[in-house]
């Protein structure tokens, strides 16, 4: 493992650990209002100042990071499992299954990602509890983001299906689910792993986009999307540079995800 990848892993682990310990590091919580100090600059009490309604920005960054970093992998897991089911099985079975799966995948991929997201998000109720909005947002990401991975997995399963050991297994009388689960699926693991890792930063960015557009996680729960939305009222960076901290943290985490993945894994 290269030094850059090691550093990226350390950064990701550190950010995860700090955000998981949010309730001890920032005991004030993300929703408590300090009404006597709205929009205050950084101080000993509020390390990153407070927002327009007096909530501690440092606490909100920690809790928001926790939500995005915990739920994006869950969404990535859902989409990777769906991709394995659709793409892996279609590639393995071939024939009509392959044609149907390719058609459905093409349909999903022909829709621009953000258009698809906001359409499906708008179909579901918008005035819901914050917790439900978190679940809806990441569930949508997981359920809609499988198409690109499915195409990769379909190609891998197809090439695996014509490999020597699978042909030999078939000749030995192995068929159906046993052949798929014992021999095909375990050999798709590296591709599945790569697709899972690639999906996490994509979903983090998508949630951020939805949040800024007001279609993501509902207030008062913070997420990177709602934290970045605060930039909307920013007039000058020089006056309030601390408001850029969520953006900087997002860039650091995203860069770390890019560095953790090797070129071969991205190509896979």
């Amino acid at each position: 493992m290269s030094a850059a990848r090691k550093l990226a892993c350390v950064v990701l682990v550190a950010v995860c650990v700090v955000s998981l310990g949010a309730q001890w590091i920032a005991p004030t919580g993300y929703a408590k209002q300090f009404r006597e100090a709205p929009s205050s600059p950084p101080s000993r009490q509020h390390l990153l100042g407070t927002d327009e309604i007096g909530r501690d920005r440092f606490a909100r960054v920690l809790y928001g990071t926790r939500i995005s970093l915990l739920l994006a992998p869950v969404a990535a897991l859902i989409s990777t499992l769906l991709a394995a089911l659709v793409g892996g099985l279609a590639g393995y079975l071939g024939g009509i299954w392959l044609r149907v799966a390719t058609g459905v995948t093409d349909l999903f991929l022909s829709l621009p990602w953000l258009f698809l997201l906001i359409t499906v998000r708008a179909v579901l109720p918008l005035n819901v509890s914050p917790l439900f909005s978190v679940l809806i947002t990441f569930l949508i990401l997981g359920l809609l983001g499988w198409a690109a991975s499915a195409r990769v997995l379909c190609t891998s399963a197809q090439s695996l299906g014509s490999s020597d050991f699978i042909v030999q297994a078939r000749a030995s009388g192995l068929h159906g689910s046993r052949l798929f689960f014992v021999h095909v699926l375990p050999n798709l693991k590296p591709v599945l792993y790569a697709q899972f890792w690639i999906s996490i930063p994509v979903f983090i960015l998508s949630e951020a986009n939805l949040g800024i557009l007001g279609l993501g996680v509902a207030e008062p729960l913070p997420s990177w999307g709602s934290l970045l939305r605060e930039l909307e009222g920013l007039v000058s960076f020089r006056d309030e540079p601390w408001r850029l901290v969520p953006l900087l943290l997002l860039i650091i985490v995203m860069t770390s995800f890019q560095m953790v993945l090797s070129k071969e894994e991205v190509a896979a």
């Binding site: 829709l111 953000l114 906001i118 179909v123 557009l213 930039l231 909307e232 995203m254």
Partner: protein, 288 residues
């Protein structure tokens, strides 16, 4: 052969559009609050009027009947009326489409110019400093959400198309850089260099014919990315285009309008990608 390919693409587009439309109609039908109208809450309306309002939507309960009705209307140029804006969807699309075409078009042009210039400079110079610069700059823009780039363009008073250019730039740069690197590593190009052929001649005669078709495919994909980026850029920069219309429709849950916008954008994306595929086929058949 070419005609058959074009016909196949058109058939596929029609099939996907019909299937996509049916899926959209099903989504609209199943959406919570589909058959309710806020006018029903008006205390001035009598119970007969409320019943009449409910009755007017009974025909929309059956998904297939609703979809057939929508398709019949669409064929005759009637895409329905926006619930929130109170205007025909067709007129809204007609008024907003030029803004999106201009913003996305200029943004794409700028993004392509910036990315390919940098990719060619890195490939031709073969200096690691340029390589590091290109990777860092494109990597940084890949890490920033499209909506944040749109917000930054508002803060810096920059035009919306610049945000679109910066959103598509990293994707074009990384892909074209990889394509050029792959093409430059081919043995016949190494041989051409060894024979003393100029860099421009190598690029024009040996590298571009190899990388060209995939660049055309990338052009089709970037149209889709640019159209997607129009949602945050137009919404946050206050540009009255299709992206802003989709966002307003999503916030107001104006589903008929949103579905029409999405179907339109999907059709444009499919047409552009199919066009790119036909061009690639023409280029390859001429080479053969």
């Amino acid at each position: 052969m070419l005609l058959w390919r074009v016909a196949r693409h058109l058939l596929a587009i029609a099939g996907i559009a019909l299937l996509g439309g049916l899926l959209s109609a099903t989504l609209v039908r199943l959406a919570p609050g589909f058959d309710t109208d806020e006018h029903q809450l008006d205390p001035h309306l009598s119970s007969e009027s409320v019943r009449a309002l409910r009755q007017s939507r009974v025909g929309e309960h059956n998904v297939l009947r609703y979809y057939v009705g929508y398709l019949t209307g669409a064929v005759h140029g009637d895409l329905g009326v926006s619930h929130t804006l109170g205007q025909p969807v067709q007129r809204l699309l007609h008024d907003r489409w030029p803004v999106t075409l201009r913003v996305a078009g200029i943004g794409l042009l700028l993004g392509w110019l910036l990315a390919t210039a940098l990719a060619f400079a890195v490939s031709l110079s073969r200096l690691s400093a340029y390589e590091i610069l290109g990777t860092t700059v494109s990597g940084a823009f890949l890490c920033i959400p499209a909506a944040v780039l749109a917000l930054l363009s508002v803060i810096f008073n920059a035009p919306g198309y610049l945000a679109i250019a910066l959103i598509v730039f990293p994707k074009i740069y990384r892909y074209s850089r990889n394509l050029l690197a792959k093409a430059y590593s081919l043995p016949h190009i190494t041989a051409a260099r060894a024979k003393g052929l100029g860099e421009v001649r190598i690029l024009m005669w040996h590298v571009l014919p190899v990388a060209g078709p995939q660049m055309i495919a990338l052009a089709g994909i970037t149209v889709s990315i640019a159209l997607g980026a129009c949602i945050p850029v137009e919404s946050l920069c206050g540009l009255p285009g299709i992206g802003q219309l989709a966002w307003q429709a999503a916030l107001a849950r104006d589903l008929p309008l949103l579905v029409n916008v999405t179907v339109l954008v999907t059709l444009v994306t499919l047409l552009v990608n199919s066009g790119a595929d036909v061009i690639i086929h023409m280029v390859r058949s001429r080479e053969a």
